[in-house]
């Protein structure tokens, strides 16, 4: 029986889609059968981040409206054969599907997949309601900014009201140098403000920008953010992986830089 995980944040631009792509790919690398569903109808992105845009024939809306079978709409990833994407439609809007239809779809996919990841759109309207409809648990992505944390808090409340209580926090785009100087909230600060368990901290990494533009998820690579995402995947599977504390991440980064300077 597969598990449905929604990746949500409230605020836009904090890294939901990047997180979905990387956690999904990471879980597939760890041998799980995974499907990523882009629920952002009208503003799809996940296909671009995954580098699968050119393969889209049918979309989520076609599946829900029964113009095609689920199998026809699922796009197999170009790197991992046990990873699939169900792309969103670009020409419709959020009202093209209902929460009931999304729940039904998620339940149909449970038999075949170990993990079903829902990439939630920004906001708390119809798109959010669709994305959380069939979810068992949630990964809440936030950046260490007051505005993002405020929105994340609202989201946690809404998830709670919808009986989704297995929630974990991902602090994205953390800059250790700024935290040290006291100019940015630390991951501990964010955890304290939100009061839910932390599942991972992803440092701000320019490699992410490159990866997004080339359509190759970073997870599993030697880049800092790639390692952080792999750790999150292992924790999603229930493995105990120690957190790299801020100073350690920092000293590692220094070492990394030093190596480059030498060569």
């Amino acid at each position: 029986m597969g598990e449905v995980i929604v990746i949500t944040s409230g605020k836009g631009g904090v890294g939901k889609t990047t997180t979905t792509a990387n956690v999904g790919t990471g879980l597939a690398m760890l041998g799980k059968k995974v499907v990523l569903i882009d629920t952002d109808i009208g503003l799809r992105n996940l296909d671009v981040v995954m580098g699968l845009e050119n393969r889209i024939v049918y979309t989520l809306v076609d599946v829900v409206e029964n113009t095609c079978r689920i199998k026809q709409a699922l796009i197999k990833d170009k790197r991992y054969p046990n990873l699939y994407l169900l792309p969103s439609a670009q020409t419709k809007d959020k009202t093209a599907v209902s929460p009931e239809q999304m729940k039904k779809l998620a339940d149909e996919l449970r038999d075949e997949f170990d993990y079903i990841l829902m990439d939630c759109p920004a906001g708390i309207e119809q798109g959010f309601k669709n994305a959380i409809a069939g979810a068992d648990r949630a990964l809440i992505v936030t950046t260490p900014e007051v505005s993002a944390v405020r929105d994340a808090d609202r989201i946690i409340g809404l998830l709670d009201a919808n009986d989704i209580r297995d929630n974990h926090l991902i602090v994205n785009r953390l800059r250790t140098d700024m935290v040290r100087e006291g100019n940015m909230l630390s991951s501990e600060d964010v955890v304290e403000l939100l009061g839910i368990d932390l599942i991972g901290v992803v440092p701000d990494d320019e490699q992410i920008v490159i990866a997004t533009n080339t359509g190759e998820p970073l997870v599993g690579s030697e880049a800092k953010a790639g390692k952080a995402y792999m750790n999150i995947c292992k924790r999603v599977l229930g493995e105990e992986v120690p957190f790299l504390d801020l100073e350690e991440t920092k000293s590692f980064f220094e070492k990394f830089k030093a190596i480059f300077k030498k060569s």
Partner: protein
């Protein structure tokens, strides 16, 4: 509502199936009632009408059309005989003209198509502007883009494998001709040259080539 009058819609007209058990006067009232209650749904279209299920005199047919005109906004332009053979012939000739029209005529569209926009046309289409990623052009004929094709183009949408796509700058995400789909390479080309190219169908594959004289000679309309 009694089922003494049943309305069926066809592509160009309405078939009215009438009960032959009740009296003509009663039927006339039922027809009036039927069209009065459906007036809003039917709108103000121009339709042909066919009577079925009951033998009517010419005078009665005209009277019923008059009743219809009085109770809704439809404009009944002609009364068609209920004759399957004739209808078949009509349909065939209509479809033949339509197909010819699609292949040999075109229309212009000025402006760029952006992500999420779909341009769906029956004839060939000439776009003066770009088709951006996430946008789609669908045509039953050919597609000519006087600009860059960076989105999806679907030519010969009803199965015409002679259809083609031309763009001044050819960088499509996906091209479909008839039932064949071609997608862009996963790795973008390093040195993309802006030149006019044509995408055409040959034996189940889609080829993209620079638009030179040889290729142009092979174009069939």
């Amino acid at each position: 509502m009694k089922n003494t009058v049943v309305m069926k819609g066809t592509r160009s007209g309405i078939i009215l199936v009438l009960d032959d058990k009740i009296s003509y006067d009663e039927l006339k009232l039922d027809v009036a009632e039927k069209f009065r209650t459906s007036a809003e749904f039917l709108g103000a279209a121009q339709k042909a009408i066919t009577f079925q299920g009951r033998r009517l005199t010419e005078a009665q047919k005209l009277e019923l059309v008059d009743v219809i005109h009085r109770h809704c906004n439809l404009n009944i332009v002609c009364i068609m005989e209920d004759d399957p053979a004739m209808e078949q012939a009509f349909r065939q000739s209509m479809e033949r003209t339509l197909i010819e029209k699609e292949a040999n005529s075109g229309q212009f569209f000025k402006g760029s198509l952006r992500s999420g926009q779909v341009l769906d046309v029956e004839t060939s289409i000439i776009i003066i502007g770009d088709v951006k990623p996430g946008a789609k052009v669908v045509s039953k004929g050919n597609i000519i883009i006087l600009g860059a094709l960076k989105g999806n183009a679907y030519a010969g949408a009803d199965g015409n494998t002679n259809a083609f796509v031309v763009a001044l700058d050819m960088q499509p995400i996906q091209i479909r001709i008839a039932d064949t789909i071609a997608r862009s390479p996963d790795k973008p080309e390093r040195n993309h040259l802006k030149e006019t190219k044509i995408a055409f169908w040959l034996e189940g594959n889609i080829y993209i080539e620079p638009l030179d004289k040889d290729v142009m000679n092979d174009i069939r309309l």
